[in-house]
């Protein structure tokens, strides 16, 4: 693929990437790490949802509202409702400013909302919720939230940010099983990549890897991948070498050879024919004798033939 072809196809796939993540509905799980953070991609997805005209509810546990809204223009910010769990999530200040009931109630309130229209719920972050709530409670709430409502106007899309290193494999896999799409962020040589797993209903899971970068206004920019060292290409004119040519041994047996092999009696298998052959001296055996002429100093002591007993 030439670079220009790659870019052309890539632009389509960038649009498809965000759109296909959002079109699937249900839950999209973003798995990030310390080195490759995922909040920017979360914000890019939020921006895309808002541009579709949807209202976006953010359960913000890790950053302040100002920091989260940074980079969004006013049209997007007007569609964003920020539920602040950053300032006082555990109600330490007791000033009544904290969200009543804490994080769990805030999550459940989103399930029970009655306003019409499809909405997107962004959880920043699932890790914070998982550290403060039991895993089963959180999964039940998520399942209730992202369950596909048959009524098209009330669809809820859930975007969850998960910091992989903070949790054991059990909770991560549990959350992963609830998600219709899973994006694992990594990268190489300063270039971020997203490995996406789609779980479409009644289809096999499909994988896709996309190199990208996120611009300051949270739109996605395609990248072709990091500049790698040119790999040495195999010479197309050299025919592949067949290793089975010119062998000094047989790889396969013919039918006759196989029959002969199968009918061969193994030396230590004692059958009745063998027993008879041993007991009855055959015609060949009469010709084998041992002739022994002892030396002058040979001691033919039968009781000590090796002469090593110290008697």
């Amino acid at each position: 693929m030439t670079p220009s072809e790659g870019v052309g196809r890539g632009v389509e796939s960038v649009l498809e990437m965000l759109e296909s993540l959002l079109a699937l509905g249900g839950m999209v799980l973003l798995r990030d790490s310390v080195e490759w953070e995922g909040r920017s991609l979360l914000k890019a997805l939020i921006k895309k949802s808002a541009l579709y005209g949807e209202q976006v509810h953010v359960l913000g546990c890790e950053v302040s509202e100002e920091e989260f809204r940074e980079g969004f223009d006013s049209s997007i910010n007007s569609r964003l409702v920020y539920h602040d769990l950053f300032r006082d999530p555990l109600n330490w200040s007791k000033t009544g400013e904290a969200l009543p009931g804490g994080p769990l109630e805030a999550l459940r309130a989103l399930c029970g909302r009655t306003d019409p229209g499809p909405i997107t719920v962004a959880l920043d972050s699932l890790s914070w919720l998982l550290l403060h709530l039991p895993c089963t409670t959180l999964c039940q709430a998520l399942h209730a939230l992202s369950r596909q409502d048959p009524c098209p106007g009330k669809q809820v899309r859930v975007l969850g940010l998960l910091h992989e290193e903070l949790h054991g494999p059990g909770p991560v896999r549990t959350l992963s099983s609830l998600a219709q799409a899973e994006v694992t962020l990594s990268g190489a040589m300063g270039q971020a990549s997203a490995h996406i797993l789609y779980r479409r209903p009644r289809q096999h899971p499909t994988h896709q890897t996309q190199w990208f970068s996120i611009l300051p206004d949270f739109s996605l920019d395609l990248q072709g991948g990091p500049l790698l060292e040119p790999q040495p290409q195999p010479d197309p004119h050299t025919p592949p070498v067949d290793p089975t040519n010119h062998l000094t041994f047989n790889l396969r047996l013919s039918k006759k050879e196989r029959e002969a092999k199968d009918s061969l009696a193994l030396p230590f298998q004692f059958s009745s024919e063998k027993q008879q052959a041993l007991l009855r001296p055959g015609p060949g055996q009469a010709t084998s004798h041992i002739f022994y002429e002892p030396d002058t100093y040979d001691d033919l002591d039968q009781e000590d033939p090796d002469d090593d007993l110290d008697v």
Partner: protein, 232 residues
């Protein structure tokens, strides 16, 4: 840690130092080498110093009703570090006469890993730092510098959760480690710098830098990997 302490004091910031590892005199001696006097800073109320080693002993001789920042040492079930957070919040609360005197408030913690050894859970420490961030960084537009030890090969799950959780909350990570090739007389270690502020448009590819360093008596010299004067 010593560098940041002297740096912020010289920059005229109000500093709250939660020192759990060493005594006040230790930091004072090193501070003097770097050109600041902690005693003077404490007297002029620029520095609020929680001497963990001394307070930890005091707590057992006080009446139990009085709240103490290191109260968790007394409680069997340490649920949270709220008293410690309240101490920090009080220490950096702006008072009228100080409003003009000092620049942004700064919280330094040396170090957080020891809290795990004292029986506090990793999530409780993360919550403490979360609340400090909300107050010091967001409300008061200040900074926090915290030291955590990496358990390295020893598999310490709680420490790993603490380290990774803090890393995710941080905007800048400085990771000091020994050289991969072992001990060296002229190069004492390597410092990796990772910026995690994603919305900055400048130099997205310079997110991570690595320098090697040599510690001298009153300063540290940095050089690029492989460029130590001893090697060239």
């Amino acid at each position: 840690m010593h560098h940041f302490l002297s740096f912020y004091l010289k920059a005229n910031c109000k500093v709250c130092f939660v020192a759990l590892i060493q005594s006040f005199s230790h930091y004072n001696i090193v501070g003097q080498k770097l050109g600041v006097s902690l005693t003077a800073a404490r007297e002029r109320r620029q520095l609020v110093f929680l001497e963990g080693l001394k307070s930890a002993v005091d707590i057992f001789f006080r009446p139990q009703e009085e709240p103490h920042p290191l109260q968790f040492l007394r409680e069997a079930n340490t649920r949270n570090l709220q008293p410690l957070y309240e101490f920090v919040r009080e220490a950096l609360k702006p008072t009228d006469e100080e409003e003009a005197a000092w620049r942004c408030p700064v919280l330094l913690v040396d170090d957080l890993s020891v809290l795990l050894s004292l029986g506090v859970g990793a999530v409780a420490v993360l919550d403490f730092i979360h609340y400090c961030r909300a107050t010091v960084c967001w409300e008061r537009k200040g900074n926090i510098v915290a030291l955590v030890h990496d358990s390295g090969d020893a598999e310490d799950e709680e420490n790993d959760i603490l380290l990774n959780g803090l890393s995710h909350q941080s905007h800048l990570i400085l990771r000091a480690e020994g050289l991969a090739t072992g001990f060296c007389k002229d190069v004492h270690g390597q410092l990796k710098i990772l910026w995690r502020r994603p919305s900055q448009p400048t130099a997205p590819r310079d997110r991570s830098l690595t320098y090697q360093y040599k510690i001298q008596d009153k300063s540290v010299s940095f050089f690029a990997k492989g460029m130590s004067p001893a090697v060239l």
